[in-house]
């Protein structure tokens, strides 16, 4: 083998030119900062996270046993319906989960209504269901009137306060055919639904607010991008200075 051949080797870990060595050293430092800033932070989030229930979940836990045994008081039934509406309001549910929650809300509403309200609730819900299939726009005056009237009735039955955003979705979640019975298969689904949608991975990094953001969100969505631009800028400045110092002409 030509002895000169071994003079022309280059490797990131064994750089054989001054330029490559300087480049390598700078690259290692910056990539280390880069990697720790991205992946290190996410690991930290993972390590310190704790499953944290929403208030709605804590309330649900208190009443669920009684709902199952059908010994729940009016207030407990209302709390259960509120929790179900909280999950429905998130808009994340799968179709079968939505069906179970619709059943829960409809059943509780019907159970808690007095005899005159029961009839009203059933008629209005059926009317609203029919109207939904007929209208071409949700700004239809008749639709709006019936929706508001049903929401008011449902909210009164469920004890929702007027400023609660859930009052605005009650009418949309009532199903006339689901009022008589809280189906066994839906009851089975409820605990899993509640824990999936009402328990979150939280820590002091997610609870602490920075510039209005949850801190971890700010860090990932805003700060990391600033850091990336800064690292790129720093690299270019350092490389330019190095090449100038070493009189390297590219």
């Amino acid at each position: 083998m030509d002895p000169n051949q071994n003079d022309y080797h280059i490797s990131f870990f064994k750089p054989t030119t001054v330029q490559a060595k300087l480049n390598r050293n700078l690259a290692i430092k910056l990539i280390l900062v880069w990697a720790v800033a991205i992946f290190g932070f996410q690991y930290l989030l993972k390590v310190i996270e704790k499953p944290t229930p929403e208030v709605a979940y804590t309330n649900y836990e208190k009443v669920w046993e009684n709902i199952l045994s059908e010994n729940a008081s009016t207030e407990q039934m209302q709390i259960f319906a509120h929790t179900s509406l909280s999950v429905l309001g998130k808009g994340f549910c799968k179709p079968n989960e939505k069906e179970a929650l619709n059943n829960a809300v409809s059943w509780v509403s019907y159970q808690l209504a007095d005899s005159s309200q029961k009839e009203q609730l059933l008629i209005k819900t059926k009317e609203f269901e029919n109207l939904k299939t007929e209208i071409t726009s949700i700004s239809d005056p008749q639709y709006i009137e019936l929706k508001n009237s049903l929401s008011e009735l449902g909210s009164n039955i469920l004890g929702l306060q007027s400023n609660d955003p859930r009052t605005k979705i009650v009418s949309l979640e009532l199903v006339s055919s689901e009022m008589e019975l809280f189906k066994a298969e839906n009851k089975e689904l409820i605990p899993a639904i509640m824990s999936t949608y009402l328990i979150h991975n939280q820590s002091f990094l997610t609870d602490f607010k920075f510039l209005g953001f949850p801190f971890h969100y700010f860090y990932t969505a805003v700060f990391l991008l600033v850091l990336f631009v800064f690292l790129c800028w720093l690299y270019c400045v350092r490389i330019d200075k190095m090449y100038l110092r070493l009189d390297i002409e590219e």
């Binding site: 690259a27 605005k168 979705i169 949309l172 607010k209 209005g212 990391l224 990336f228 631009v229 790129c232």
Partner: protein, 556 residues
């Protein structure tokens, strides 16, 4: 140029004012104002393309290496900011909350890798295309051909998501069927790429960047102002929107603010929108990390991104163009999550219904009751974003076809005229293939684009990384690495397509979990690198002239 643009604007102004009162419906119907804005912008693009059209093959491939750093940075940003950035990122965050930030981080963090490990060195290597580099560095015509084919596949895969975005916007604006929208949009972008070539594309990209960023930011300022958040810097102001989503907003706190459908600006507490890997989103910690990593290595392996470094005069310019490019990109990436947050608030009432996630940026502006012309500008910006990327991808793909396959392998004696013809033929064929795949609607825009990233991360990235930084990496190692990375890619993509089309393959749950189509590079890239190293160590050394070139020209 001005003498053409001004009359067009003057001619269109009355129509635009007339169209301002157009309907605010979210779906369906021909929207006059947005349509006029879109047509105007496309006319400007074509005119710019004609004025700066390619005169020969050197112009077509690499714009004559005459672009400034800031100009190149803008071109990088415009080239980069595709439908996936403009529409897809907000879509992912709207649907999956914090999980979507893995795309934001992945698509920006990769530039740090690209700059530190490759940008200057790639320019110093002095090749036109990714396949050129692979063929020369690994002294193999076969690998050049494989590199070209991979570059074409990546371009096609990347373009599919873009065509999907173009289709959605054309559908929204023209009120036509998605299929026709994709076909019409695809035809327009093809015509414009054919007319202009890369010189026109680069000039266009600078104009496109300005249009994209302005159209993206204006509605955001208006939304922030309208809903009483810190509007002077909405990229920070939307933090309070995120916190409001987490804690919930009561009707009394909504302060008589409504969306376009008359729903209060209120929401039940929804921490799943911001909390990491929340069970409600169905996404996991592993997926977050794997997606971020895959997108980063993919960024550093995308042929159309790497190719941008060939169009700057010096290696120093290549480096600084990345800094500028990333800064320009980040302006959009800082803003995109804000759309998802406002979108979440404004569509909180179930009555809004299930919105097409990929159009959530436009729906958010609509739900925020923003003037229909500005919403139209936003939609036109989305189309511009897709156009700018598609044209770059088509040039990269057609370059791989004409330059790397046809000229270098099939017909080295071909005339420049013939070469240009083949480049244009390649562009047409690619467009037809992409249109056909886009019509299958295989996934969300961002997810489809992420497939291209993982593919690049498993194939091109290891070849460039080792090719630049280790002279010991030889032809045999490159082939073995490509096979390893390629196998992982084929398995993942096969399972993805089969799953999307309803076929049940064995161990589908396992493959989907660990080798999902948007993140298979987490294992594919390291596997390809290790295989390359091991096989290179066991086989004959890289030829002297290659090692000498690396040491003397690339690292000295």
């Amino acid at each position: 140029m001005k003498k053409f643009i001004l009359p067009i604007i003057l001619l269109l102004t009355p129509s635009l004012l007339f169209a301002a009162g157009a309907s605010t419906q979210l779906e369906g119907g021909f929207k006059v104002g947005p349509a006029i804005i879109l047509i105007t912008i496309l006319c400007v693009f074509v005119l710019v393309g004609i004025f700066f059209r390619a005169k020969d093959t050197a112009d077509f491939y690499a714009a004559g290496r005459s672009i400034s750093r800031v100009g190149s940075g803008m071109a990088i940003a415009s080239n980069w900011m595709s439908a996936a950035s403009f529409l897809g990122m907000a879509a992912i965050m709207y649907g999956s909350g914090y999980h979507g930030l893995s795309y934001v981080v992945g698509w920006t963090g990769g530039y740090v890798l690209l700059l530190i490990l490759m940008a200057g060195q790639i320019r110093k290597y002095g090749k036109y295309t990714a396949a050129d580099f692979i063929g020369d560095r690994y002294y193999s015509q076969g690998l050049r051909a494989v590199g070209a084919i991979i570059a074409i596949l990546i371009s096609i895969s990347y373009c599919v998501g873009q065509f999907g975005g173009i289709g959605l916007m054309f559908k929204w604006i023209l009120g036509i069927d998605y299929t026709w929208a994709v076909i019409i949009g695809g035809t327009v972008v093809l015509a414009y790429t054919l007319i202009s070539g890369m010189l026109g594309v680069t000039k266009n990209m600078q104009i496109q960047y300005v249009i994209i960023i302005i159209s993206f930011l204006i509605p955001l300022f208006i939304l922030s102002f309208k809903f009483d958040y810190f509007w002077l810097l909405p990229q920070i102001g939307y933090g309070s929107v995120v916190s409001d989503i987490v804690s919930g907003v009561n009707i009394s706190e909504a302060n008589h603010m409504f969306n376009a459908l008359g729903h209060e600006f209120a929401i039940v507490p929804s921490p799943e929108f911001a909390m990491p890997w929340d069970p409600a989103t169905g996404q996991t910690f592993f997926q977050w990390m794997a997606i971020a990593f895959s997108l980063m290595v993919g960024t550093a392996g995308l042929p159309h991104v790497i190719q941008r470094f060939y169009v700057v005069p010096k290696a120093r310019d290549a480096r600084w163009s990345v800094v500028w490019g990333l800064f320009f990109i980040c302006i959009l990436y800082w803003s995109a999550p804000a759309y998802s947050a406002f979108g979440k608030m404004l569509s909180a009432n179930p009555e809004v219904g299930k919105l097409a996630k990929d159009a959530i940026v436009v729906y958010t502006a609509q739900l925020g009751n923003i003037n229909s012309l500005i919403v139209g500008l936003l939609a036109a910006g989305a189309v511009s974003a897709a156009f700018s990327t598609v044209s770059g991808l088509l040039v990269a793909g057609s370059s791989a076809f004409a330059h790397d396959l046809y000229v270098k392998i099939i017909n080295p004696e071909s005339s420049p005229k013939k070469q240009l013809f083949m480049a244009r033929l390649g562009t047409i064929v690619m467009s037809i293939i992409v249109t056909a795949i886009a019509l299958l609607k295989l996934g969300l825009i961002a997810q489809l684009v992420a497939v291209a990233f993982s593919l690049a991360g498993c194939t091109i990235f290891p070849l460039f990384l080792l090719g630049i930084w280790w002279s010991g990496s030889n032809k045999q190692g490159a082939i073995a690495g490509l096979i390893a990375g390629g196998l992982v890619s084929i398995i993942s993509i096969t399972y993805f397509v089969a799953g999307a089309k309803g076929f049940d393959l064995p161990a589908a749950a396992f493959v989907t979990k660990w080798l999902g189509a948007w993140f298979f590079a987490w294992i594919g890239a390291p596997l390809a690198i290790i295989t390359n190293i091991v096989v290179s160590k066991l086989t004959p050394e890289t030829p002297l002239e290659i090692r000498k070139f690396l040491v003397l020209n690339v690292h000295s």
